[in-house]
């Protein structure tokens, strides 16, 4: 009974995740592909819940579904080419890439099964016991994560904030309104590319 419940939960999550990913590849319309990311991200969030990482599940929903997915849908609508929706969406590489991916899956799968795990990786388990990260705080508590993040991992936390600064400035720089009217002249100008040489005084 217990096993059936777990298997069902796993089956639903795996179906959402992998089925969504397959649709992302196979759907003709790019906007549909973007929406098929939803079951993938939600399925992963479900896996995090199943694996007792509640905070990560919340972050997955907030950031992946709330921010990244919305951003992707925006980008798709902003860059959609009305004429290209009915064309094939994949290039000629599909079959060779599929074969290469199968080889990758097989290779990674064998490495996982051939590793000497502390507990066999293909057996059903009762819940692995969780312990206290610091005295009195279970590892599943958000406060444990906060403690680790702001003590041991303070430096990466700071680097991550610098990274966000770089991303913010970069996105603003690239996405701001164009000032010059010569926006459409770009392609032609580059292809002409005259070899102008600038006078140098005696270096």
């Amino acid at each position: 009974m217990h096993t059936i419940l777990h298997a069902t939960v796993f089956g639903v999550l795996a179906l959402a995740t992998l089925g969504g990913a397959v649709k992302v590849i196979s759907t003709r319309s790019i906007i549909h592909a973007a929406f098929w990311l939803f079951p993938v991200f939600a399925g992963i969030a479900g896996f995090y819940l199943y694996l007792d990482a509640q905070f990560l599940a919340a972050m997955q929903v907030l950031i992946y579904i709330g921010a990244i997915l919305v951003l992707i849908v925006f980008a798709v609508t902003l860059t959609r080419n009305a004429t290209s929706t009915d064309e094939a969406q994949t290039n000629g590489l599909f079959i060779p890439v599929l074969l290469a991916a199968l080889v990758l899956v097989y290779a990674l799968g064998t490495t996982v099964f051939n590793h000497l795990w502390p507990i066999e990786s293909n057996v059903w388990l009762d819940a692995v016991p969780l312990s206290a990260a610091v005295p009195g705080v279970m590892v599943t508590d958000v406060s444990a994560l906060g403690l680790v993040l702001l003590s041991q991992y303070l430096l990466p936390f700071e680097i991550a904030s610098v990274l966000l600064l770089a991303a913010m400035v970069g996105a603003i720089v690239l996405a701001r309104k164009e000032r010059t009217p010569a926006a459409t002249a770009g392609v032609a100008a580059v292809e002409a590319a005259p070899a102008d040489v600038r006078e140098l005084s005696n270096v």
């Binding site: 680097i159 970069g170 010059t180 590319a193 006078e199």
Partner: protein, 480 residues
């Protein structure tokens, strides 16, 4: 992390703080020269602070970073390259009709990312440094966004670097699953104790895919020529120097010990040997027929990473000297070559084709002379930095008995000589009959700034100095 750890990190923290300071100055006054000045001051302050770090050598700063002699040397190289690229950018971007202040901010942060990579001792620091460098570079490559080529190069780099990051991350996840740790030290222990663990090896190989992409090793090189060609020249210089230096420093930190501890023909050593052979042969062969100087330098950089890998595979104390020395020579030569090209170009009109440089010596003798020395150094001609770098690499390879690599290195260097000399001959040929030298565009100032002249002079001096008088640097490199 305690207060006592801070001085060791100053060379990294100062550029990061300078970026924030730069952001604040932008709110008061928007001025490209001021922004560039602030960035350069940040790099110089970082270089000065290296003295403080050097006083605290072999100091693990938390479990994430190790500030040892190796890190300090690479930090010096990275900060120096950072300083010079910002000097070149001032002259190059002056015709850009869009705000160019943010370029310097992002460039500071990119160098910080590279420095984190070069000192990392933990997967979290590794990945964050890699991503800080990559995210900044995406923007920097596509910075002149009116130029279609720059945007195309930016998108190519974005997609392939994103994929390589994903490979690195999956590899980290596999090694974590196999070992339960994220530190390099523990990974080393596990790799030497269980050299036959396929899961661990699989994880390391996936990480290598990502690092190989950053180093543009064959077969992960296909992005290099396009990104080199499309990116604005100062950023091309950055991709060729800072990005590669950081990635190679990281590789050395992560796996040099493992290669050394394992017997001569372990799986990893075989993989690295194949990568090095392929990079040397393919890089040099593809450069032979190349008429575009940027693409030629791209292929040459692929070959040069193959040479560096030779020292890496050889291992031993010789490699610990050869790798930083080779990189110092390589980076100075590449910066000099791109520095000259940068001064003759603007974002709208870059001088890219070898033909564009025909007869350069008759118009700009000093620029042509510097470009000549830089190319000779890349070819490994005696009396230049590149020669000694290659010499130390060869010595390390021979000491370790890696004869296949050593012979390939010598033979392919001969090929390299051919295409470098082809460019050099073009520099000294008379301009074609009936063809007037192109008059300089009128809107450009006809004057090389003092700063750029100084930077190019320093590079020229370093190219020769590193080639004839290595002992001060060798003394600095003596491994603790």
């Amino acid at each position: 992390m305690t207060w006592a750890d801070l001085p060791a990190l100053y060379p990294m923290l100062i550029p990061a703080a300078t970026a924030v300071l730069l952001l604040l100055t932008l709110t008061v006054r928007r001025d490209a020269r001021l922004a560039a000045g602030v960035a350069m001051a940040g790099f110089i302050a970082g270089l000065l602070a290296l003295a403080a770090s050097a006083a605290e050598l072999s100091h693990p700063v938390t479990m994430l970073l190790t500030v040892d002699r190796f890190a300090v040397v690479f930090w010096g190289i990275l900060l120096f390259a950072g300083l010079l690229v910002s000097v070149f950018a001032v002259g190059y971007f002056r015709t850009l009709r869009e705000p160019r202040e943010e370029f310097y901010l992002l460039w500071l942060l990119a160098v910080v990312g590279a420095m984190v990579m070069a000192a990392s001792a933990h997967f979290a620091a590794f990945f964050l440094g890699l991503e800080l460098l990559s995210v900044s570079l995406y923007v920097l490559i596509a910075y002149p966004r009116m130029q279609s080529r720059a945007v195309e190069a930016g998108v190519k780099y974005l997609i392939l670097a994103g994929a390589s990051s994903a490979f690195v991350l999956f590899g980290m996840a596999l090694t974590y699953a196999a070992t339960g740790t994220l530190t390099f030290a523990e990974l080393f222990t596990h790799l030497t104790l269980f050299p036959g663990d396929v899961l661990l090896l699989g994880g390391v190989v996936m990480i290598l895919v990502g690092v190989g992409f950053k180093l543009a090793l064959v077969p992960f090189h296909f992005w290099t020529p396009d990104v080199y060609e499309g990116a604005p020249l100062p950023v091309t210089a950055a991709v060729a120097t800072v990005s590669k230096g950081a990635a190679f420093a990281l590789l050395t930190r992560l796996l040099l010990g493992v290669i050394q501890a394992q017997p001569g023909h372990s799986t990893l050593a075989v993989i690295f040997t194949l990568l090095a052979l392929a990079s040397m042969i393919v890089g040099n062969l593809l450069a032979l027929a190349q008429g575009n100087l940027k693409r030629l330098l791209a292929y040459s950089s692929i070959a040069n990473m193959g040479y560096a890998l030779t020292a890496f595979i050889a291992g031993g104390d010789a490699a610990r000297v050869a790798i930083p020395y080779f990189f110092a020579g390589y980076i100075v030569a590449v910066l000099a070559a791109f520095g000259v090209m940068t001064q003759l170009s603007t974002p709208e009109h870059e001088l890219q084709e070898v033909e564009d440089y025909r007869g350069l010596a008759w118009r700009y003798p000093w620029s042509a002379a510097l470009l000549t020395v830089a190319l000779l150094s890349l070819a490994g001609i005696p009396l230049t930095a590149g020669f000694l770098g290659k010499f130390f690499v060869l010595t390390a390879g021979m000491a370790a008995g890696r004869w296949t690599l050593v012979v390939t290195l010598v033979l392919t260097s001969g090929l390299g000589l051919y295409y470098y000399l082809r460019v050099i001959t073009a520099l000294y040929q008379a301009p074609l009959e009936g063809e007037q030298p192109t008059p300089p565009p009128l809107h450009l100032p006809h004057r090389l700034s003092v700063l750029t002249g100084l930077a190019l002079a320093v590079l020229a001096a370093l190219l020769l100095l590193l080639g004839v008088y290595p002992s001060p640097v060798l003394h600095l490199l003596a491994w603790p």
